[in-house]
Symmetry: C2
DNA sequence: CAGTATCCTGTCCGATACTG
DNA sequence: CAGTATCGGACAGGATACTG
């Protein structure tokens, strides 16, 4: 992931992808958010080569998605737990699950996202802080105070 | 993306990533959903090498995210427009934007997602079909009717 | 303008072997 | 159990030149 193009600085999507853009990283986050903690747990769950697992785990720690926490001295052993930032990534994963469900349900396993207590189906939507739902097509990405002029023009030219 | 591991069949996230897991593909979808249509538009917006653009564009057409549509005969010219599946991917992108905003706002450009008419800030949340918001930590991924036993156990073991 | 054709590099990833 | 050390292959991605 050495794209380092101009857009990386400008676009929040590109910026995000730079950190978690790798396939395994996302899958590891999925498992971490499912409660997996230890090297061996990830290893078995994912069937990933150990060197890759080490690399991705370290990478996720570096970008602040996971925290490395000793759970045993002698021998020194670490477990990997999601940070607040990593925990917050759950929403992205949920969106991905929901999207995949809608479009790839036929093939193989079907899953659904539900409210734990009632079992009612839930799906990602946009909403205001007051809890009012806003249709997706009413939502636009807007340049914030710190946006550069270039980015501002980019955004304002969006028909959407 | 030749991972073809067992999980790919079982997990909706892995399945989704198999289609759109590449960096450029996601960025292209972002631009397509912003209204860009033509080769040249993508090319300029992304600064991507033309061969890569062709490759990714074809890939996205193949997996059904974009539709190739002739907009001129002689010479025969195509434009690329999001299919329903591609359009639906917008929610995932919005989640990614929102997440990136919350955690990478400080560096470089800051943007925000707002309701177009009122300018009120909006964010992705989980909700039922009736529009009732459900806190993320109350949401679980549940095996649907078609789920295999293995997957079912995986999911049920989630503490979450 | 909308690509195709080549060539090249980096690195993601897999497989396997080894260690305290 | 939790990694480290190597090796090799596939391919994403970059750069550049060329075409109807």
């Amino acid at each position: 992931m050495q794209r380092k193009s101009l857009i990386s600085d400008e676009c929040p999507i590109a910026r995000s992808l730079e950190r978690v853009g790798e396939w395994w990283s996302i899958l590891i986050m999925r498992d971490a958010l499912h409660g997996l903690r230890r090297f061996d747990e990830f290893s078995r769950s994912l069937g990933i080569a150990p060197n890759m697992l080490t690399r991705r785990l370290n990478g996720l720690v570096e970008v602040g998605m996971l925290e490395r926490r000793p759970y045993s001295q002698r021998p020194l052993r670490y477990e990997y737990v999601p940070t607040a930032k990593g925990e917050d990534f759950r929403m992205v994963l949920m969106s991905l699950v929901a999207w995949g469900n809608r479009h790839y349900a036929e093939e193989g396993t079907s899953v659904e996202v539900v409210e734990r207590q009632t079992g009612r189906a839930v799906q990602p939507m946009m909403a205001t802080a007051e809890g009012q739902l806003i249709p997706l097509d009413q939502c636009v990405v807007q340049a914030g105070p710190a946006a550069s002029t270039g980015m501002r023009q980019r955004l304002e030219s969006i028909p959407q």
